[in-house]
């Protein structure tokens, strides 16, 4: 795992630096005249006037000691900024994952059990719409309906300033969670339906039915457990996707997570902050793959790792 992450950092650093433009672009963003000497002094202070390999060696040296560097734009330690924002992203990811998993399981199972019924057709239609619908458009529609017209839910942020109640926070969480989970509900329910349809036609399921087990036990205990193996694999990989998907959702809902910070860092060419966030993303991808492997073993005892 460590060599893999190490390799990833080299690729990421090279890709980030290959993008044209540098952090000095931020100095001209407001459209004010600027002294070119200020630009050169800025680049020198940040160390971006040095060759890329030297910059990398400096960065990885620090990273190995747990120092991810200082953000170019905020002058704060990157690790501190990430730690500050991580809970909001994890909360949004967790809530979306749970909601998506619950709905996908219910939809996928019912669609498979009632194949070609009106419910199944409705589920298929929902999936296509859910996968095809642009996230930002869906988010704005929800804001308009539930925030502006009905005034049931807040449009942006995590908490009304001054309010400390859990209810207030949960209300802020609803819209971004629904938006972020939609695509995954649609996708995962389709995977589960297909997988479950195959499982329901296998010999062991027929045997279970012949033994006189109830339909619920047959579907939920015997068939679903096997059917979940490919779905879990997709879900684990999608967890990292949830992390990147949060970029748009967090920006639209002004959710103070890592995703929004990443967008700002990208436009500001804040290399240390970008590297810190991408490193975290890489570790998460590797970690969730490990989680998927462990989950296989739990779902199917025949799968064992040495």
């Amino acid at each position: 795992m460590i060599p893999l992450v190490f390799g990833i950092t080299i690729v990421l650093f090279a890709v980030i630096q290959a993008a044209p433009g540098g952090p000095e672009g931020a100095l001209l963003e407001t459209g004010r005249f600027i002294d070119p000497e200020v630009i050169e002094a800025y680049r020198e202070r940040l160390g971006v006037d040095q060759p890329v390999p030297i910059q990398y060696v400096r960065w990885i040296g620090g990273a190995m000691r747990g120092d991810l560097g200082i953000s170019f734009s905020t002058t704060r330690p990157v690790s501190e900024m990430i730690i500050e924002r991580l809970p909001a992203t994890l909360e949004l990811m967790g809530a979306s994952f749970l909601l998506a998993a619950l709905l996908a399981f219910a939809l996928g199972t019912l669609s498979a059990v009632k194949q070609y019924s009106w419910f199944d057709h409705l589920g298929t239609g929902f999936s296509f719409v859910g996968i095809a619908m642009p996230v930002f458009w869906f988010a704005l529609i929800l804001q308009l309906v539930f925030g502006v017209w009905l005034q049931w839910l807040p449009v942006a942020g995590t908490q009304t300033v001054g309010a400390t109640s859990v209810t207030d926070h949960v209300l802020h969480l609803v819209l971004p969670t629904v938006v972020l989970s939609l695509r995954y509900v649609a996708g995962w329910s389709r995977y589960l339906r297909s997988s479950l349809l195959v499982a329901l036609r296998t010999d062991y399921v027929r045997t279970a039915r012949a033994k006189g087990l109830s339909e619920v036990a047959v579907v939920c205990v015997h068939a679903a457990r096997n059917a979940l193996i490919p779905v879990v694999s997709v879900m684990a990989l999608n967890l990292a996707g949830l992390f990147s998907g949060a970029v748009i959702t967090e920006t639209i809902f002004a959710w103070p997570g890592i995703g929004r910070m990443f967008v700002q860092a990208m436009f500001a060419r804040d290399y240390p902050l970008l590297m810190g966030i991408l490193l975290l993303g890489s570790v998460m991808v590797v970690f969730f793959n490990l989680v998927a492997d462990i989950a296989y073993g739990i779902l199917d005892p025949r799968i064992r790792y040495e």
């Binding site: 044209p20 433009g21 004010r32 202070r45 804001q143 967008v263």
Partner: protein, 535 residues
Amino acid sequence: MLAIAVGACSSGSEGGAPRGRSGADDPDRPKILRVAYTREIDVLNALTSQNLVDIQFSMVEGLVTTNENNDYIPVLAKQIPTEDNELIVVNDDGTVTMTWPLQEGVRWHDGEAFTAEDVCFTWRFVSSAGSQVYNRNQYLGIVACETPDEHTVEFTWTSVLGYYAGLFEAILPEHVLGGMSTEEIITYVPYNRGDALVGTGAFRFAEWRSGEYIRVVRNDDYWRGPEYPAIDEIVWSFIPDSNTRLNSLKAGQHHFGQIEPTQVEEMAAVDGYGVHLVSQNSFMHFDLSLNTAHARLLFGERDVRQALFHAIDRPAIADLLMQGTVTVADSPLHPSSPYHNEAAPSVAFDPELANRMLDEAGWRRGSDGIRVLDGERFTFKMLNRAGTADRIAVAQVIQAQLKDVGVEATFETLESAAWTQRWRSGEWEALVSAWFLPADPAITGLYACGGPNNMTGFCDRELDELMVRSDGFLDFDRRKQALDEAQVSLAASARSLPIYYNVVPEVVSTEVGNYRGSGTNFGSFWNLWQWTLGS
């Protein structure tokens, strides 16, 4: 400043101002102003921040600010020095002595007295190497800062700088930052983040929740008097998406927010808010370059450039594309500036004339309708900055209109940082861009030969002489005359076509009083100490 109320209606109905949350109607509840701000800022040091510094100016003050009329007005200075009030004296050796009398009885938020030493400290920081202050070079003419007494600052300038009034927009506290190196001040997190930030402004720093908001609270010891400010608290929520800002305003969650010109009509229909079109000291323009051999071939002749400009219908861009929210520009200097020259030549939309001029220049239409000269097609690339919808839309109109006169413009769109790098390298042929000018305009850096922000490759010694001359006058009439001539000369050279003066629509709740929108780099919050909140 042009602040046109597009819509302001009664409160209390659906979509109104923050409902029951501002405390405006309940004398016992704090009056909280909620602002939907366009972005999260980088640092709270107003001099080293690379963003616009509205939030900082609620806490930090400078010697001057600008009002809604684009005029400099004193803040921590008692008055702005001029030759007339004898606070500026040109010495026999050509140096200039400039005296700034300061307000008395001003205290920093931690109770320390504000003195002339703080001003000198700020000057030493800004002019130090590597200070990262965007207009540092404008301070370099000051060679000495003296403090005859606690409330008087005396600068010695090597020579006259005509736009001196725009400097010292923020003053740093010496008792907090003194003794640190330039690098240490730039990277001093407690000040940048707010914990150690002290200003002299109407509000004090209270809280910065990363990614969410900055909260400032009333400064009970404000030097203008105990009745100021009238608001107890301001919450600056960071909402970068313009659609979300619009929705949050429509949902009544904020008192103030900036929206896009295309959203004006929708917001104007919402009760409880007024939409103010604040004309900015910023102008959209179409620049041509002479940096590459191909660009020199196309744009080397003045008449050819002029012909291209005649092919562009600026009134249509202003009235149709920008839905009448902006006004056509003929000069970089805003009409509200006393230095604006009404007589600067305007380029009329005349495609017939454009065709004739191009024909006369030898550019004849080829078989595909695009003009050709000596085997070279009249085709060039326009550099677009991704994410700037207004600029790209203007570029598309220009592209279509140039095609009508047989000129082909293709696009190359780059993301912001990449665009800036390309612009600085000079490796481009044409672009649509915008500059933000200070209230006292100095355009030398933008148009002078080798000027720090002149990336076009154009060089006109005659224009240079006019601009440099204008920078060296303290007398208004003489400075205006030089700038008037410079604006005419600039228009005559047909190197850059001003298109329109930018407008920022600001949505303000009808609960807010004393809002006076300003389009300078000081922004519309310049008089926050006067704002009120109540129905």
